[in-house]
Symmetry: C2
Subunit: 197 residues, 2 copies
């Protein structure tokens, strides 16, 4: 056997490029299919991606694994969007309202994925995917507690959990027909400001 320190041969590079293209097509197709039907099957998704089922299973061995990957990619994209919101120039409570409305817009956009993830994945796993994005909330809460705008009799990690939970509860309540989608942003902001101040 030769010592493989040089670049991979052209055939291996091509195979890897094919695999990357397929994975990307599968994740795009999964997001589209799940948006119209949270119960979309792996077969539906493979067809929409233009790949065979065996190719799909070669990359994602279960439907749960596929949804987990779609969720990871979506949260990373969402986190990049949230990074662009300038929170530092605002007062903590104004910044919170801003962060709620940006986060809520993203959650609404991916509501079908959220529903599919809830059915397929463990709640702890879904929360884990959001941990990085929630770092932003934590920073803002720390600032607000330091500035005396937010209450300090409750621990900051709990207030972060509350932010996450209230947004997801609103999504669930809309799905259950108990909350109007148009009212949600206002209801969430009032609730969180009430609980945080």
């Amino acid at each position: 056997m030769s010592d493989r320190t040089g670049p991979p041969p052209a055939s291996a590079r091509r195979r890897r490029a094919d695999a990357e293209r397929n994975i990307s097509a599968i994740l795009d197709a999964a997001l589209t299919c799940l948006a119209s039907d949270a119960d979309a099957s792996v077969a539906d998704i493979a067809q929409a991606a233009g790949v065979g089922r065996m190719t799909l299973y070669g990359h994602f061995s279960t439907r749960a694994e596929l949804i987990d990957a779609v969720l990871a990619r979506t949260v990373a994209t969402a986190d990049a969007t949230l990074a662009a919101v300038d929170l530092d120039s605002l007062r903590p409570d104004e910044a919170l309202a801003q962060l709620v409305s940006s986060s809520w817009r993203i959650l609404q956009q991916y509501r079908a994925l959220h529903a599919a993830a809830q059915r397929e994945l463990d709640a702890r796993r879904i929360r884990m995917h959001h941990d990085k994005a929630l770092g932003r909330v934590r920073q803002l809460l720390d600032r607000g507690q330091r500035d005396g705008v937010f209450r300090t009799d409750l621990p900051a990690p709990w207030l972060v959990a509350l932010f996450y939970s209230v947004l997801h509860t609103a999504a669930d309540e809309i799905s259950a027909g108990r909350l109007g989608a148009a009212d949600a942003a206002d209801v969430i902001t009032k609730t969180l400001l009430g609980a945080f101040r």
Copy 2:
């Protein structure tokens, strides 16, 4: 064929009594097994109940169906406990604190079942099981809104959802090691009173 209007023969009555006894033993065993291990298998539960696996599957065709039945029975028992709490003689905010602490004690007692249900059942299904018990919260919120103790700028069904969500978030946060079990009742009460008033 004869017209069966008389009482069932003794053999049928005996079969039904056996079935009821088995179901009850299975539900008891499931609750005990899940309390020590949220991933307890159907085989473990059948063994603890002293019935064969086939007998268990005759009553509950999947593990999810079994956990669903355990949850239904547990919530009914919990609801009976909550019914014994005299809320009407207290001010709405005091009654809320009382209801939080009773509900939280019950949820803590059945934390392992809650974890098992979260892994096996849909979040909507779990919430549905709680709907009757949440009727108590709704009544209290209505009274508090009428008396001007609770805010009226947020709809009562939303405040009910928040009650449910904050309690379950606290259970999740304890499981994740982000909240101390001893602090939870106080944290929940402060959070809900902050959000409701």
